[in-house]
C-alpha cells in the first residue's frame, strides 16, 4: 500500500526548476534513500512534502489525503515529521522542553484549564512529559533532559532532532542528513536507531544522506536525484553500478 505519493511535482524558484516533474511513491514501512549531488533538490523534495514550499504543479497525497499546498502544521498533524539538515533546535530551551513541544501535538488543553491549573491540566501535562521522556530514552538522551539544547555536543543535537521528530507520533519521518558531522561510532549507532524506528515503531522513513555507508547498509530502495530530476532508482546494489549515477557524482570522464 502506498503511504505517500508525489505526482508530477514541480517546484520553481523564479525561473529555476528546483524539482521538476517529480514522481515518487513510498510504501508503508519502507526505508527509502534519497541521494544526489549537492544542489540536486533533495531538501526541496522534503520541503515540498512538509508544506514549506508550494509546488507550481503536481499533487501530493498522504494516506489518500491531498496535502498539496497545505500548511506545515496541518501536515505535521496528519503524521509527517522531519529533521533539518542545518540543525533547527529550540536552542535556549531544555532538551525535555524541545521534545515536549513535539509531544504535545495531539493533546489539547483549553486555555481555561491552563490558567486555572485544573487537575485535567496536570494530567495532560504528565502524559506529554511521559511521551517526551520515552522519545528521549529511545535516542539515549534521557540523562541530559535538563540541559539547554544549544549546550549539547553536535552528535547529540542531531539525536535530539530525531527524538523531537519521533515525539509527534508520525507515520512518515523525513531525515535530512542525520549522519552529517557524526563520527564513525555515532554513525553506527544512528544506523541501528533508524533500523529500530522502522522495525519496532513501524515508521516509514525517507533518508537524505551523503554518507554512502549509511545509505547502502540500511536503505531498501534508493532514488537518485540530479538537477531536480530522478536519474536512477533501485536497490543499493543496482544503484552502485548505474553509469548515470557515477556520472552525476564523478563526472562523465569517470564512466568512459
Amino acid at each position: 500500500m502506498s503511504l505517500l505519493k508525489l505526482e508530477d511535482v514541480t517546484v520553481a524558484f523564479g525561473g529555476l526548476l528546483a524539482v521538476s516533474n517529480f514522481d515518487l511513491t513510498v510504501d508503508d514501512k519502507e526505508l527509502l534513500g534519497l541521494i544526489g549531488p549537492n544542489g540536486a533538490g533533495k531538501t526541496t523534495v522534503f520541503n515540498v512534502i512538509t508544506g514549506f514550499h508550494i509546488p507550481v504543479k503536481g499533487r501530493i497525497t498522504f494516506t489518500n489525503k491531498d496535502i498539496t499546498g497545505k500548511s506545515p502544521s496541518y501536515i505535521a498533524k496528519l503524521g509527517i515529521s522531519r529533521t533539518f539538515q542545518n540543525i533547527r533546535l529550540f536552542s535556549n530551551l531544555t532538551v525535555l522542553d524541545n521534545v515536549m513541544i513535539a509531544a504535545q501535538l495531539h493533546f489539547n488543553i483549553p486555555y481555561l484549564h491552563t490558567f486555572l491549573r485544573t487537575p485535567l491540566f496536570y494530567k495532560i501535562e504528565e502524559a506529554i512529559e511521559k511521551k517526551a521522556l520515552n522519545a528521549l530514552e529511545l535516542v539515549g538522551l534521557k540523562e541530559v533532559k535538563d540541559e539547554i539544547a544549544k549546550n549539547l555536543p553536535y552528535g547529540d543535537q542531531r539525536k535530539l532532532e530525531i527524538a523531537r521528530a519521533i515525539a509527534t507520533e508520525p507515520r512518515l519521518i523525513l531525515l535530512d542528513e542525520p549522519a552529517a558531522g557524526m563520527n564513525p561510532k555515532e554513525t553506527e549507532d544512528l544506523m541501528k536507531m533508524i533500523k529500530f524506528l522502522r522495525d519496532e515503531l513501524d515508521l516509514t522513513i525517507i533518508l537524505i544522506e551523503h554518507d554512502m555507508k549509511v545509505v547502502m547498509n540500511i536503505c531498501e530502495r534508493v532514488v537518485v536525484l540530479n538537477y531536480g530530476e530522478i536519474i536512477a532508482e533501485g536497490t543499493p546494489d543496482e544503484i552502485k553500478t548505474k553509469p548515470e549515477v557515477l556520472e552525476a557524482y564523478l563526472g562523465s570522464a569517470a564512466v568512459g
Binding site: T50, F52, S71, P72, S73, A76, K77, S81, R82, F84, R88, L89, F90, S91, N92, L93, D97, M100, I101, A102, Q104, L105, F107, I109, Y111, T114, F115, R117, P119, F121, Y122, I124, E125, I128, R164, T168
Partner: protein, 310 residues
C-alpha cells in the same frame, strides 16, 4: 500532587489577603511614596504583559502605549458617562484593547523583526491621533474629571493576576508553543505548532493586560491626554523588559519596580551635591548603558535576542 495544587490556590488567596490588608493602611502612607508604589505596580503590569509578546513569543512590538491608551480611554469613558462599576470598566477596556490587538495582529504578524516593530509603532500612533480628534473624550483638550477609583488593592490585585497568568501560561503547552516560535519558527511549524494562532494569542494577551493597566492609570490620575501615550511610553516599557531580561517574568517585574524608583531616588543627587543642574536623567541613562554592557542578557535573563533574524 494533590497537595501542591491546593498549596498554589492557598498562596493566591493569601496574596489577595495581604494586598487587602496593605490597602487598609495605605491612607497613612506618604502620598508621594504612595504614588510611586502605584506607578510601580502599573509598570509591572505593562512590562510583564509586553514580555509575553516580546520576550516569550519573540515578536518585536512597539505598540504597547497604544493598547494602554485604548484601555485607559475606554474604561474612563464608561465610568465617566455611564457610571459603570470600576472592575467591569477595567475589563471592558482590556477587552477592547485585546480586540484591537487581534485586529492589528492578523495582518501584521506576518511581518518579522524590524518590520513588525514599525507596523506596531504605526498602530500606536494611529490610536493616539484618533484620540486627539475624538471629541467625546476631550480630544486635544484632554479628558478631565475621571473618578478616582484606583487604589492599592486594585493595582496590586491586577499585578498578582498578570504574574500568575503569565507564569501559568509560560509553564504550559501553550507557553512552550509560544517559546518555540521565538526560538525557531520553521522548526516550530514542522512540529505542528500553528504559529499564527499562537502569535495572535500572545498579542491579545499582552494587549488585554496593557489595556487594564491603562484603565488603572487613568483612574488614578483622573485626567487623560493623548500626548501621554506617545511612542516614548512604549519605549519606556521596552527598556524595562530588556533590562530585566527578555523572557524572564521575575526579572522583568523587578526591573519595572527598579526603573520606577530609580528616577525618584536620583532626585536626591541634586540635593546632596547641591548642584544647579539636575544630573538625574544623565545618571539614569548611564546606569542603563552600564547594565546593558555588563549584563547584555538583562538582570535575570538567560535568553538574548539574536542580533539579526535569519
Amino acid at each position: 500532587m494533590e497537595k501542591i495544587k491546593n498549596y498554589r490556590y492557598l498562596l493566591f488567596i493569601l496574596g489577595v489577603l495581604i494586598i487587602y490588608l496593605i490597602n487598609l493602611v495605605s491612607p497613612h502612607i506618604n502620598p508621594y511614596y504612595f504614588q510611586i508604589i502605584i506607578f510601580a505596580g502599573i509598570n509591572i503590569i505593562l512590562a510583564v504583559s509586553l514580555n509575553v509578546i516580546n520576550g516569550l513569543c519573540g515578536q518585536f512590538s512597539l505598540g504597547h502605549a497604544g493598547f494602554m491608551a485604548v484601555g485607559a480611554y475606554f474604561s474612563s469613558f464608561l465610568t465617566f458617562y455611564y457610571r459603570i462599576p470600576f472592575s467591569l470598566a477595567l475589563i471592558c477596556g482590556g477587552i477592547l484593547a485585546g480586540l484591537i490587538g487581534l485586529g492589528v495582529g492578523i495582518p501584521t504578524l506576518r511581518l518579522r523583526g524590524d518590520y513588525l516593530a514599525i507596523a506596531t509603532l504605526g498602530m500606536g500612533e494611529i490610536i493616539r491621533v484618533i484620540l486627539f480628534n475624538l471629541d467625546i473624550v476631550g480630544g486635544a483638550r484632554g479628558f478631565p474629571g475621571i473618578p478616582k477609583y484606583t487604589n492599592f488593592f486594585w493595582v496590586y490585585l491586577v499585578v498578582l493576576l498578570v504574574l500568575v497568568s503569565s507564569y501559568n501560561l509560560l509553564k504550559s503547552p501553550q507557553g512552550r508553543a509560544i517559546l518555540s516560535i521565538r526560538e525557531d519558527e520553521i522548526a516550530s511549524e514542522a512540529m505542528g505548532v500553528d504559529i499564527t494562532r499562537f502569535k495572535i494569542f500572545a498579542f491579545i494577551f499582552g494587549a488585554f493586560w496593557a489595556g487594564i493597566a491603562g484603565g488603572l492609570w487613568a483612574h488614578y490620575l483622573q485626567f487623560l491626554h493623548p500626548s501621554s501615550f506617545t511612542f516614548m511610553k512604549s519605549v519606556e516599557v521596552l527598556v524595562m523588559i530588556v533590562l530585566g531580561g527578555l523572557g524572564s517574568i521575575s526579572g522583568v517585574a523587578i526591573s519595572a519596580v527598579l526603573l520606577t524608583f530609580l528616577p525618584e531616588l536620583l532626585r536626591y543627587v541634586k540635593v546632596i551635591f547641591n548642584t544647579t543642574v539636575d544630573p538625574r536623567m544623565v545618571i539614569y541613562s548611564l546606569l542603563l548603558i552600564l547594565t546593558m554592557l555588563l549584563r547584555p542578557q538583562g538582570l535575570l535573563g538567560s535568553y538574548r535576542r539574536k542580533a539579526r533574524e535569519q
